[in-house]
Protein backbone atom coordinates (compact mmCIF):
# COMPACT_ATOMS: atom_id res chain seq x y z
CA UNK A 1 0.00 0.00 0.00
CA UNK A 2 1.06 3.57 -0.62
CA UNK A 3 0.19 6.86 0.94
CA UNK A 4 -0.01 9.50 -1.75
CA UNK A 5 0.31 13.13 -0.74
CA UNK A 6 -0.44 15.80 -3.32
CA UNK A 7 -0.22 19.56 -3.10
CA UNK A 8 -2.40 21.28 -5.67
CA UNK A 9 -3.82 24.69 -6.51
CA UNK A 10 -7.01 25.26 -4.53
CA UNK A 11 -9.04 26.08 -7.61
CA UNK A 12 -8.20 22.68 -9.15
CA UNK A 13 -9.68 20.67 -6.30
CA UNK A 14 -12.98 20.11 -8.03
CA UNK A 15 -11.38 18.88 -11.21
CA UNK A 16 -9.09 16.60 -9.26
CA UNK A 17 -12.06 15.11 -7.48
CA UNK A 18 -13.77 14.54 -10.83
CA UNK A 19 -10.70 12.90 -12.27
CA UNK A 20 -10.32 10.64 -9.25
CA UNK A 21 -13.99 9.63 -9.34
CA UNK A 22 -13.62 8.66 -12.98
CA UNK A 23 -10.86 6.28 -11.95
CA UNK A 24 -13.04 5.01 -9.09
CA UNK A 25 -10.85 6.50 -6.41
CA UNK A 26 -13.49 7.70 -3.99
CA UNK A 27 -11.62 8.05 -0.74
CA UNK A 28 -9.38 10.87 0.20
CA UNK A 29 -8.62 13.38 2.89
CA UNK A 30 -8.04 17.03 2.21
CA UNK A 31 -6.45 19.81 4.24
CA UNK A 32 -5.83 23.46 3.77
CA UNK A 33 -2.14 24.26 3.34
CA UNK A 34 0.16 27.04 2.36
CA UNK A 35 3.03 26.47 0.03
CA UNK A 36 6.22 28.07 -0.97
CA UNK A 37 7.96 26.95 -4.13
CA UNK A 38 9.02 28.11 -7.54
CA UNK A 39 5.84 30.09 -7.90
CA UNK A 40 6.44 33.72 -7.05
CA UNK A 41 4.46 35.28 -4.24
CA UNK A 42 2.87 38.69 -4.39
CA UNK A 43 2.93 41.90 -2.46
CA UNK A 44 0.20 43.18 -0.29
CA UNK A 45 0.14 46.57 1.31
CA UNK A 46 -1.67 47.28 4.52
CA UNK A 47 -1.93 50.83 5.67
CA UNK A 48 1.03 51.81 3.57
CA UNK A 49 3.36 49.10 4.79
CA UNK A 50 4.49 46.27 2.59
CA UNK A 51 3.94 42.57 3.10
CA UNK A 52 5.58 39.98 0.93
CA UNK A 53 3.32 37.01 0.77
CA UNK A 54 5.28 33.96 -0.27
CA UNK A 55 3.21 31.29 1.39
CA UNK A 56 0.49 30.77 -1.14
CA UNK A 57 -2.78 28.96 -0.57
CA UNK A 58 -2.62 25.30 -1.55
CA UNK A 59 -4.68 22.23 -0.92
CA UNK A 60 -3.12 19.07 0.43
CA UNK A 61 -4.67 15.75 -0.54
CA UNK A 62 -3.85 12.50 1.16
CA UNK A 63 -4.91 9.23 -0.41
CA UNK A 64 -4.08 5.75 0.81
CA UNK A 65 -4.26 3.21 -2.02
CA UNK A 66 -3.48 -0.38 -2.71
CA UNK A 67 -0.47 -0.92 -4.91
CA UNK A 68 -2.48 -1.67 -8.04
CA UNK A 69 -4.24 1.66 -7.72
CA UNK A 70 -1.14 3.81 -7.40
CA UNK A 71 -0.72 4.53 -11.08
CA UNK A 72 -4.29 5.41 -11.88
CA UNK A 73 -4.47 7.62 -8.84
CA UNK A 74 -1.38 9.52 -9.86
CA UNK A 75 -2.64 9.84 -13.41
CA UNK A 76 -5.94 11.18 -12.16
CA UNK A 77 -4.22 13.63 -9.83
CA UNK A 78 -2.09 14.96 -12.65
CA UNK A 79 -5.00 15.11 -15.04
CA UNK A 80 -7.08 17.14 -12.62
CA UNK A 81 -4.36 19.39 -11.27
CA UNK A 82 -2.20 20.22 -14.25
CA UNK A 83 -2.70 23.63 -15.82
CA UNK A 84 0.85 23.96 -17.10
CA UNK A 85 1.63 26.92 -14.87
CA UNK A 86 4.27 27.11 -12.21
CA UNK A 87 2.66 26.30 -8.89
CA UNK A 88 0.70 23.31 -10.11
CA UNK A 89 2.14 21.31 -7.26
CA UNK A 90 3.81 18.06 -6.29
CA UNK A 91 2.93 14.49 -5.55
CA UNK A 92 4.82 12.56 -2.88
CA UNK A 93 4.44 8.81 -2.55
CA UNK A 94 5.21 7.06 0.73
CA UNK A 95 5.17 3.41 1.65
CA UNK A 96 2.25 2.49 3.81
CA UNK A 97 2.96 -0.69 5.71
CA UNK A 98 -0.27 -0.83 7.69
CA UNK A 99 -3.78 0.46 7.58
CA UNK A 100 -6.78 -0.10 9.85
CA UNK A 101 -10.46 0.74 9.48
CA UNK A 102 -11.60 2.08 12.82
CA UNK A 103 -15.21 0.99 12.50
CA UNK A 104 -14.52 -2.68 11.80
CA UNK A 105 -10.94 -3.18 12.83
CA UNK A 106 -10.18 -4.58 9.35
CA UNK A 107 -6.50 -4.33 8.49
CA UNK A 108 -4.38 -3.96 5.40
CA UNK A 109 -5.62 -3.72 1.81
CA UNK A 110 -9.26 -4.39 2.66
CA UNK A 111 -9.26 -1.48 5.05
CA UNK A 112 -8.20 1.04 2.48
CA UNK A 113 -11.21 1.22 0.24
Amino acid sequence: MKLIIAYIQPEQLNEVKQALYEKEVYKMSVTNAMGCGQQKGYHETYRGADIEVNLLKKVRIEIAVNDDFVDVTIEALIKGARTGNIGDGKIFILDLPACIRIRTGEKGPEAIG
Binding site: E11, N14, E44, Y46, V59
Partner: protein
Protein backbone atom coordinates in the same frame (compact mmCIF):
# COMPACT_ATOMS: atom_id res chain seq x y z
CA UNK B 1 -41.87 61.79 -1.56
CA UNK B 2 -44.20 64.49 -2.60
CA UNK B 3 -43.72 68.10 -3.42
CA UNK B 4 -42.81 70.17 -0.44
CA UNK B 5 -45.63 72.65 -0.76
CA UNK B 6 -48.18 69.99 -0.12
CA UNK B 7 -46.96 69.50 3.36
CA UNK B 8 -48.03 72.52 5.34
CA UNK B 9 -50.83 71.48 7.65
CA UNK B 10 -53.99 73.41 7.21
CA UNK B 11 -54.25 74.70 10.72
CA UNK B 12 -50.75 76.05 10.86
CA UNK B 13 -51.17 77.56 7.45
CA UNK B 14 -54.30 79.25 8.57
CA UNK B 15 -52.60 80.58 11.66
CA UNK B 16 -49.81 81.95 9.57
CA UNK B 17 -52.01 83.51 7.02
CA UNK B 18 -54.02 85.15 9.68
CA UNK B 19 -51.06 86.02 11.82
CA UNK B 20 -49.03 87.49 9.04
CA UNK B 21 -51.57 88.83 6.63
CA UNK B 22 -54.33 90.14 8.85
CA UNK B 23 -53.08 93.19 10.64
CA UNK B 24 -56.64 94.03 11.42
CA UNK B 25 -57.17 91.58 14.23
CA UNK B 26 -53.74 92.21 15.60
CA UNK B 27 -54.50 95.87 15.93
CA UNK B 28 -57.59 95.07 17.87
CA UNK B 29 -55.68 93.16 20.49
CA UNK B 30 -54.22 95.01 23.42
CA UNK B 31 -50.58 93.91 22.88
CA UNK B 32 -50.30 92.98 19.23
CA UNK B 33 -46.58 92.06 19.30
CA UNK B 34 -47.15 89.42 21.93
CA UNK B 35 -49.80 87.65 19.93
CA UNK B 36 -47.76 87.98 16.78
CA UNK B 37 -44.73 86.54 18.49
CA UNK B 38 -46.66 83.53 19.68
CA UNK B 39 -47.69 82.71 16.11
CA UNK B 40 -44.11 83.09 14.94
CA UNK B 41 -42.86 80.96 17.77
CA UNK B 42 -45.31 78.24 16.84
CA UNK B 43 -44.01 78.41 13.28
CA UNK B 44 -40.44 78.15 14.49
CA UNK B 45 -41.30 75.09 16.54
CA UNK B 46 -43.02 73.48 13.60
CA UNK B 47 -40.06 74.29 11.38
CA UNK B 48 -37.69 72.76 13.90
CA UNK B 49 -39.78 69.61 14.21
CA UNK B 50 -40.17 69.02 10.51
CA UNK B 51 -36.52 69.60 9.78
CA UNK B 52 -35.41 67.48 12.73
CA UNK B 53 -37.72 64.75 11.52
CA UNK B 54 -36.19 64.82 8.07
CA UNK B 55 -32.66 64.91 9.41
CA UNK B 56 -33.27 61.86 11.58
CA UNK B 57 -34.85 60.15 8.57
CA UNK B 58 -31.84 61.04 6.41
CA UNK B 59 -29.46 59.61 9.01
CA UNK B 60 -31.45 56.39 9.08
CA UNK B 61 -31.32 56.18 5.30
CA UNK B 62 -27.57 56.78 5.34
CA UNK B 63 -27.29 53.96 7.85
CA UNK B 64 -28.65 51.70 5.12
CA UNK B 65 -25.25 52.00 3.45
CA UNK B 66 -23.87 49.92 6.29
CA UNK B 67 -26.68 47.45 5.79
CA UNK B 68 -25.95 47.04 2.11
CA UNK B 69 -22.24 46.64 2.77
CA UNK B 70 -22.88 43.88 5.29
CA UNK B 71 -25.51 42.01 3.27
CA UNK B 72 -23.47 42.10 0.10
CA UNK B 73 -20.17 41.09 1.61
CA UNK B 74 -21.77 38.43 3.79
CA UNK B 75 -23.53 36.85 0.81
CA UNK B 76 -20.35 36.60 -1.25
CA UNK B 77 -17.18 34.64 -0.74
CA UNK B 78 -14.49 35.75 1.64
CA UNK B 79 -11.95 36.43 -1.06
CA UNK B 80 -13.95 39.37 -2.49
CA UNK B 81 -14.91 41.03 0.74
CA UNK B 82 -12.52 43.98 0.73
CA UNK B 83 -13.62 44.77 -2.79
CA UNK B 84 -17.30 44.79 -1.90
CA UNK B 85 -16.80 46.88 1.20
CA UNK B 86 -14.69 49.32 -0.72
CA UNK B 87 -17.30 49.66 -3.45
CA UNK B 88 -19.96 50.37 -0.87
CA UNK B 89 -17.87 52.97 0.88
CA UNK B 90 -16.91 54.66 -2.35
CA UNK B 91 -20.31 54.81 -3.97
CA UNK B 92 -21.33 56.88 -1.00
CA UNK B 93 -18.21 59.06 -1.03
CA UNK B 94 -17.99 59.64 -4.77
CA UNK B 95 -21.74 59.58 -5.25
CA UNK B 96 -22.33 62.37 -2.79
CA UNK B 97 -19.74 64.58 -4.48
CA UNK B 98 -21.40 64.15 -7.85
CA UNK B 99 -24.91 64.42 -6.54
CA UNK B 100 -23.82 67.65 -4.91
CA UNK B 101 -22.30 69.05 -8.06
CA UNK B 102 -24.70 67.81 -10.73
CA UNK B 103 -27.27 65.29 -9.63
CA UNK B 104 -29.37 67.39 -7.29
CA UNK B 105 -29.67 70.16 -9.85
CA UNK B 106 -30.78 67.67 -12.48
CA UNK B 107 -33.31 65.99 -10.25
CA UNK B 108 -34.86 69.11 -8.77
CA UNK B 109 -34.41 71.80 -11.43
CA UNK B 110 -37.37 73.77 -10.13
CA UNK B 111 -40.17 75.01 -12.29
CA UNK B 112 -39.96 75.56 -16.00
CA UNK B 113 -38.22 72.42 -17.17
CA UNK B 114 -39.53 70.50 -20.16
CA UNK B 115 -40.44 67.53 -18.03
CA UNK B 116 -37.73 65.31 -19.51
CA UNK B 117 -34.40 66.96 -18.77
CA UNK B 118 -33.60 70.19 -17.02
CA UNK B 119 -30.94 71.59 -14.77
CA UNK B 120 -31.29 73.82 -11.74
CA UNK B 121 -28.11 74.88 -10.04
CA UNK B 122 -24.78 73.44 -8.96
CA UNK B 123 -24.60 72.66 -5.28
CA UNK B 124 -27.47 73.04 -2.90
CA UNK B 125 -28.60 76.63 -3.20
CA UNK B 126 -29.65 78.91 -0.33
CA UNK B 127 -28.81 78.11 3.25
CA UNK B 128 -32.20 78.53 4.89
CA UNK B 129 -35.81 78.09 3.89
CA UNK B 130 -37.57 81.31 3.14
CA UNK B 131 -39.56 81.22 6.30
CA UNK B 132 -39.75 79.12 9.39
CA UNK B 133 -43.04 77.31 9.11
CA UNK B 134 -44.47 73.86 9.24
CA UNK B 135 -43.60 71.84 6.16
CA UNK B 136 -40.85 74.20 5.05
CA UNK B 137 -37.55 72.42 4.71
CA UNK B 138 -34.09 73.88 4.97
CA UNK B 139 -32.50 73.21 1.57
CA UNK B 140 -29.56 71.60 3.35
CA UNK B 141 -31.62 68.90 4.99
CA UNK B 142 -33.58 68.37 1.81
CA UNK B 143 -30.33 67.66 0.02
CA UNK B 144 -29.18 65.40 2.84
CA UNK B 145 -32.29 63.30 2.51
CA UNK B 146 -32.05 63.26 -1.28
CA UNK B 147 -28.41 62.28 -1.38
CA UNK B 148 -29.09 59.39 0.93
CA UNK B 149 -31.64 58.14 -1.60
CA UNK B 150 -29.24 58.58 -4.48
CA UNK B 151 -26.59 56.61 -2.63
CA UNK B 152 -29.12 53.85 -2.03
CA UNK B 153 -29.93 53.54 -5.71
CA UNK B 154 -26.24 53.39 -6.56
CA UNK B 155 -25.20 50.85 -3.96
CA UNK B 156 -27.80 48.27 -4.92
CA UNK B 157 -25.70 47.24 -7.90
CA UNK B 158 -22.49 46.49 -6.08
CA UNK B 159 -23.70 43.18 -4.74
CA UNK B 160 -25.02 41.85 -8.02
CA UNK B 161 -21.76 42.34 -9.87
CA UNK B 162 -19.50 41.17 -7.06
CA UNK B 163 -16.63 38.82 -7.62
CA UNK B 164 -15.67 39.80 -11.16
CA UNK B 165 -16.19 43.50 -11.89
CA UNK B 166 -13.08 45.69 -11.93
CA UNK B 167 -12.95 48.27 -9.19
CA UNK B 168 -12.32 51.10 -11.63
CA UNK B 169 -15.33 50.12 -13.70
CA UNK B 170 -17.45 50.21 -10.60
CA UNK B 171 -16.33 53.72 -9.77
CA UNK B 172 -17.25 54.85 -13.28
CA UNK B 173 -20.64 53.18 -13.06
CA UNK B 174 -21.25 54.66 -9.65
CA UNK B 175 -20.36 58.17 -10.80
CA UNK B 176 -22.65 57.98 -13.81
CA UNK B 177 -25.67 56.60 -12.03
CA UNK B 178 -25.53 59.17 -9.23
CA UNK B 179 -24.74 62.10 -11.47
CA UNK B 180 -27.08 61.35 -14.36
CA UNK B 181 -29.19 58.22 -14.57
CA UNK B 182 -30.87 58.34 -11.18
CA UNK B 183 -31.41 62.12 -11.14
CA UNK B 184 -32.94 62.19 -14.62
CA UNK B 185 -35.57 59.55 -13.99
CA UNK B 186 -35.97 60.97 -10.52
CA UNK B 187 -36.84 64.29 -12.11
CA UNK B 188 -39.52 62.65 -14.21
CA UNK B 189 -41.43 61.82 -11.06
CA UNK B 190 -40.21 63.63 -7.95
CA UNK B 191 -38.84 66.69 -9.67
CA UNK B 192 -42.19 67.32 -11.27
CA UNK B 193 -41.43 65.91 -14.73
CA UNK B 194 -43.63 64.12 -17.24
CA UNK B 195 -44.36 61.01 -15.18
CA UNK B 196 -45.53 63.16 -12.33
CA UNK B 197 -47.61 65.12 -14.77
CA UNK B 198 -49.45 62.07 -16.02
CA UNK B 199 -50.41 61.11 -12.48
CA UNK B 200 -47.88 58.38 -11.80
CA UNK B 201 -47.41 57.81 -8.09
CA UNK B 202 -44.39 56.42 -6.26
CA UNK B 203 -44.43 57.53 -2.69
CA UNK B 204 -40.92 56.75 -1.48
CA UNK B 205 -39.27 55.19 -4.48
CA UNK B 206 -40.09 51.55 -5.18
CA UNK B 207 -39.40 52.55 -8.76
CA UNK B 208 -37.53 55.84 -8.60
CA UNK B 209 -34.91 54.37 -6.28
CA UNK B 210 -35.12 50.61 -6.01
CA UNK B 211 -36.12 49.57 -9.51
CA UNK B 212 -33.44 51.89 -10.90
CA UNK B 213 -30.85 50.10 -8.80
CA UNK B 214 -32.32 46.67 -9.41
CA UNK B 215 -32.46 46.99 -13.17
CA UNK B 216 -29.02 48.53 -13.34
CA UNK B 217 -27.90 45.48 -11.40
CA UNK B 218 -29.57 43.21 -13.90
CA UNK B 219 -27.83 44.96 -16.78
CA UNK B 220 -24.51 44.61 -15.02
CA UNK B 221 -25.00 40.94 -14.25
CA UNK B 222 -25.97 40.18 -17.83
CA UNK B 223 -23.13 42.05 -19.51
CA UNK B 224 -20.55 40.72 -17.09
CA UNK B 225 -21.66 37.12 -17.32
CA UNK B 226 -21.62 34.69 -14.40
CA UNK B 227 -18.67 33.99 -12.13
CA UNK B 228 -16.51 31.05 -13.13
CA UNK B 229 -18.09 27.88 -11.82
CA UNK B 230 -21.47 29.45 -11.08
CA UNK B 231 -23.14 27.31 -13.73
CA UNK B 232 -21.83 23.80 -14.30
CA UNK B 233 -20.82 22.45 -17.69
CA UNK B 234 -24.15 20.70 -17.71
CA UNK B 235 -25.73 24.12 -17.29
CA UNK B 236 -26.89 23.37 -13.78
CA UNK B 237 -26.86 26.22 -11.32
CA UNK B 238 -24.18 25.65 -8.69
CA UNK B 239 -24.37 27.49 -5.40
CA UNK B 240 -21.47 29.71 -4.41
CA UNK B 241 -22.35 30.24 -0.79
CA UNK B 242 -21.89 33.43 1.18
CA UNK B 243 -19.07 33.41 3.70
CA UNK B 244 -20.47 35.32 6.66
CA UNK B 245 -24.17 35.07 7.35
CA UNK B 246 -24.12 36.83 10.73
CA UNK B 247 -23.01 40.08 9.18
CA UNK B 248 -25.47 39.53 6.33
CA UNK B 249 -28.30 39.11 8.84
CA UNK B 250 -27.09 42.15 10.70
CA UNK B 251 -27.20 44.01 7.42
CA UNK B 252 -30.83 43.02 6.92
CA UNK B 253 -31.74 44.30 10.37
CA UNK B 254 -29.89 47.55 9.66
CA UNK B 255 -31.72 47.93 6.37
CA UNK B 256 -35.03 47.34 8.13
CA UNK B 257 -34.17 50.07 10.63
CA UNK B 258 -33.01 52.36 7.84
CA UNK B 259 -36.30 51.91 6.06
CA UNK B 260 -38.00 53.74 8.92
CA UNK B 261 -36.18 56.76 7.59
CA UNK B 262 -36.76 55.89 3.96
CA UNK B 263 -40.53 55.56 4.02
CA UNK B 264 -41.79 57.71 6.88
CA UNK B 265 -39.25 60.39 6.00
CA UNK B 266 -40.65 60.60 2.49
CA UNK B 267 -43.74 62.24 3.96
CA UNK B 268 -41.30 65.18 4.26
CA UNK B 269 -43.21 66.67 7.18
CA UNK B 270 -44.67 65.47 10.42
CA UNK B 271 -46.34 68.53 11.87
CA UNK B 272 -50.06 68.67 11.30
CA UNK B 273 -52.35 65.87 12.32
CA UNK B 274 -52.62 64.53 8.78
CA UNK B 275 -48.88 64.36 8.45
CA UNK B 276 -48.34 62.82 11.85
CA UNK B 277 -50.96 60.16 11.28
CA UNK B 278 -49.61 59.47 7.80
CA UNK B 279 -46.06 59.03 9.09
CA UNK B 280 -47.18 56.57 11.72
CA UNK B 281 -49.29 54.58 9.27
CA UNK B 282 -46.33 54.46 6.92
CA UNK B 283 -44.05 53.19 9.66
CA UNK B 284 -46.39 50.39 10.61
CA UNK B 285 -47.07 49.40 7.02
CA UNK B 286 -43.34 49.29 6.40
CA UNK B 287 -42.81 46.90 9.27
CA UNK B 288 -45.75 44.68 8.42
CA UNK B 289 -44.70 44.30 4.79
CA UNK B 290 -41.20 43.35 5.87
CA UNK B 291 -42.53 40.73 8.22
CA UNK B 292 -44.90 39.26 5.69
CA UNK B 293 -42.15 39.17 3.07
CA UNK B 294 -39.87 37.29 5.42
CA UNK B 295 -42.49 34.75 6.45
CA UNK B 296 -43.63 34.02 2.93
CA UNK B 297 -40.12 33.70 1.53
CA UNK B 298 -39.29 31.28 4.33
CA UNK B 299 -42.38 29.19 3.63
CA UNK B 300 -41.70 29.21 -0.10
CA UNK B 301 -38.16 27.91 0.29
CA UNK B 302 -39.30 25.43 2.90
CA UNK B 303 -41.71 23.96 0.41
CA UNK B 304 -39.34 24.11 -2.54
CA UNK B 305 -36.18 22.84 -0.87
CA UNK B 306 -37.51 20.95 2.16
CA UNK B 307 -35.53 23.23 4.45
CA UNK B 308 -36.08 26.87 5.38
CA UNK B 309 -33.35 29.03 3.85
CA UNK B 310 -32.11 32.01 5.86
CA UNK B 311 -30.68 33.92 2.93
CA UNK B 312 -33.95 33.73 1.03
CA UNK B 313 -35.99 34.74 4.06
CA UNK B 314 -33.64 37.69 4.45
CA UNK B 315 -34.24 38.59 0.82
CA UNK B 316 -37.95 38.22 1.47
CA UNK B 317 -37.80 40.80 4.24
CA UNK B 318 -36.06 43.20 1.89
CA UNK B 319 -38.44 42.42 -0.93
CA UNK B 320 -41.38 43.24 1.30
CA UNK B 321 -39.78 46.53 2.19
CA UNK B 322 -39.18 47.43 -1.44
CA UNK B 323 -42.70 46.46 -2.39
CA UNK B 324 -44.35 48.67 0.23
CA UNK B 325 -42.17 51.66 -0.56
CA UNK B 326 -44.30 53.11 -3.35
CA UNK B 327 -47.61 52.78 -1.58
CA UNK B 328 -47.06 52.74 2.17
CA UNK B 329 -49.01 55.95 2.68
CA UNK B 330 -52.10 54.81 0.90
CA UNK B 331 -52.81 51.24 1.90
CA UNK B 332 -54.25 49.72 5.02
CA UNK B 333 -52.29 47.51 7.41
CA UNK B 334 -53.85 44.38 6.00
CA UNK B 335 -53.06 45.47 2.45
CA UNK B 336 -49.48 46.10 3.55
CA UNK B 337 -49.29 42.52 4.74
CA UNK B 338 -50.59 41.31 1.40
CA UNK B 339 -48.14 43.47 -0.53
CA UNK B 340 -45.26 42.18 1.56
CA UNK B 341 -46.37 38.59 1.24
CA UNK B 342 -46.55 38.78 -2.53
CA UNK B 343 -43.10 40.35 -2.56
CA UNK B 344 -41.77 37.49 -0.46
CA UNK B 345 -42.92 34.96 -3.03
CA UNK B 346 -41.80 37.14 -5.91
CA UNK B 347 -38.27 37.24 -4.55
CA UNK B 348 -38.05 33.45 -4.53
CA UNK B 349 -39.48 33.28 -8.02
CA UNK B 350 -37.04 35.92 -9.21
CA UNK B 351 -34.06 34.03 -7.88
CA UNK B 352 -35.24 30.88 -9.63
CA UNK B 353 -35.81 32.83 -12.82
CA UNK B 354 -32.31 34.25 -12.86
CA UNK B 355 -30.92 30.77 -12.24
CA UNK B 356 -32.90 29.45 -15.17
CA UNK B 357 -31.63 32.26 -17.36
CA UNK B 358 -28.07 31.69 -16.14
CA UNK B 359 -27.76 35.24 -14.90
CA UNK B 360 -25.52 35.49 -11.88
CA UNK B 361 -26.84 38.12 -9.47
CA UNK B 362 -24.84 37.17 -6.41
CA UNK B 363 -27.10 38.73 -3.79
CA UNK B 364 -30.50 38.83 -5.44
CA UNK B 365 -30.42 42.56 -6.15
CA UNK B 366 -32.70 42.19 -9.13
CA UNK B 367 -35.41 40.07 -7.51
CA UNK B 368 -35.42 42.24 -4.41
CA UNK B 369 -35.08 45.73 -5.82
CA UNK B 370 -36.05 45.26 -9.45
CA UNK B 371 -38.99 42.90 -9.34
CA UNK B 372 -40.40 44.00 -6.01
CA UNK B 373 -39.90 47.60 -7.04
CA UNK B 374 -42.14 47.06 -10.06
CA UNK B 375 -44.58 45.22 -7.86
CA UNK B 376 -44.69 48.22 -5.55
CA UNK B 377 -45.65 50.46 -8.46
CA UNK B 378 -48.40 48.12 -9.59
CA UNK B 379 -49.65 47.75 -6.03
CA UNK B 380 -50.34 51.48 -5.95
CA UNK B 381 -52.95 50.94 -8.63
CA UNK B 382 -54.22 47.73 -7.07
CA UNK B 383 -54.57 48.81 -3.46
CA UNK B 384 -53.83 52.49 -3.22
CA UNK B 385 -56.54 54.56 -1.59
CA UNK B 386 -55.64 58.12 -0.95
CA UNK B 387 -58.52 59.54 0.92
CA UNK B 388 -58.03 58.07 4.34
CA UNK B 389 -55.01 59.73 5.76
CA UNK B 390 -53.45 61.87 3.12
CA UNK B 391 -54.53 64.73 0.96
CA UNK B 392 -54.47 62.87 -2.34
CA UNK B 393 -57.67 61.63 -3.88
CA UNK B 394 -57.87 58.01 -4.92
CA UNK B 395 -58.59 58.71 -8.55
CA UNK B 396 -55.50 60.73 -8.96
CA UNK B 397 -53.11 57.88 -8.21
CA UNK B 398 -55.13 54.75 -8.52
CA UNK B 399 -54.55 55.19 -12.19
CA UNK B 400 -53.58 51.98 -13.92
CA UNK B 401 -52.21 53.62 -17.06
CA UNK B 402 -49.94 55.94 -15.18
CA UNK B 403 -48.75 53.25 -12.78
CA UNK B 404 -47.99 50.76 -15.53
CA UNK B 405 -46.25 53.38 -17.62
CA UNK B 406 -44.07 54.43 -14.72
CA UNK B 407 -43.39 50.85 -13.65
CA UNK B 408 -42.12 50.03 -17.11
CA UNK B 409 -40.43 53.22 -18.21
CA UNK B 410 -38.23 53.75 -15.18
CA UNK B 411 -36.86 50.19 -15.15
CA UNK B 412 -36.34 50.34 -18.90
CA UNK B 413 -34.46 53.63 -18.61
CA UNK B 414 -32.12 52.25 -15.96
CA UNK B 415 -31.65 48.93 -17.72
CA UNK B 416 -30.91 50.36 -21.14
CA UNK B 417 -28.56 53.14 -20.11
CA UNK B 418 -26.64 50.85 -17.82
CA UNK B 419 -26.56 48.06 -20.37
CA UNK B 420 -24.95 50.48 -22.79
CA UNK B 421 -22.48 51.69 -20.19
CA UNK B 422 -21.41 48.20 -19.15
CA UNK B 423 -21.15 47.15 -22.78
CA UNK B 424 -18.85 50.07 -23.52
CA UNK B 425 -16.73 49.25 -20.50
CA UNK B 426 -16.54 45.67 -21.71
CA UNK B 427 -15.55 46.75 -25.21
CA UNK B 428 -12.64 48.79 -23.91
CA UNK B 429 -11.57 45.97 -21.60
CA UNK B 430 -12.27 47.79 -18.36
CA UNK B 431 -15.09 45.58 -17.19
CA UNK B 432 -14.03 42.20 -15.93
CA UNK B 433 -10.96 40.98 -14.08
CA UNK B 434 -8.90 38.14 -15.46
CA UNK B 435 -9.60 34.50 -14.76
CA UNK B 436 -6.73 34.04 -12.37
CA UNK B 437 -7.61 37.16 -10.40
CA UNK B 438 -11.20 36.06 -10.18
CA UNK B 439 -10.22 32.66 -8.85
CA UNK B 440 -7.78 34.00 -6.33
CA UNK B 441 -10.17 36.78 -5.33
CA UNK B 442 -10.44 40.45 -6.10
CA UNK B 443 -9.16 41.44 -2.70
CA UNK B 444 -5.64 40.43 -3.56
CA UNK B 445 -5.88 41.32 -7.21
CA UNK B 446 -7.48 44.73 -6.93
CA UNK B 447 -6.45 45.86 -3.47
CA UNK B 448 -3.53 43.74 -2.30
CA UNK B 449 -5.33 43.32 0.98
CA UNK B 450 -7.20 40.45 2.59
CA UNK B 451 -10.37 40.77 4.61
CA UNK B 452 -9.60 38.03 7.13
CA UNK B 453 -5.89 37.93 7.59
CA UNK B 454 -4.71 34.83 9.39
CA UNK B 455 -7.95 32.91 9.07
CA UNK B 456 -7.70 29.59 7.28
CA UNK B 457 -10.22 29.73 4.49
CA UNK B 458 -10.79 27.23 1.71
CA UNK B 459 -10.90 29.07 -1.58
CA UNK B 460 -11.59 26.05 -3.67
CA UNK B 461 -14.44 27.58 -5.61
Amino acid sequence: MKMKWLKMPALVAAALVLGLASPSWAQDAAEPEAVFDAAAAVSESAYAIDNLFLMVAAVLVLFMQAGFAMVESGFNSAKNTVNILFKNMMDLCIGMMLYFVIGYGLMYPGDGGNGWLAFGQFGIGGIGADAAEAGALAPQVDWLFQVAFAATAATIVSGAVAGRLKFGAYLIYSAIITAFIYPISGYWKWGGGWLDGMGFYDFAGSLVVHAVGGFAALAGAIVLGPRIGRFGKDGKSKAMPGHNLPIAALGVFILLIGWFGFNPGSQLAIVGKDNTDAVMLIAVNTLLAAGAGGVLAMITTWILHKKPDLTMAANGVLGGLVGITANCDGVSNVEAIIIGAVAGVLVCAGVKLLDALKIDDTVGAFPVHGLCGMWGGIAVALFGSYDGCSSQAIGEYGNWVAQITGSLVIPAWAFLTMFILFTILKAVGLLRVGREEELRGLDIGEHGEEAYNGFQIFTTN
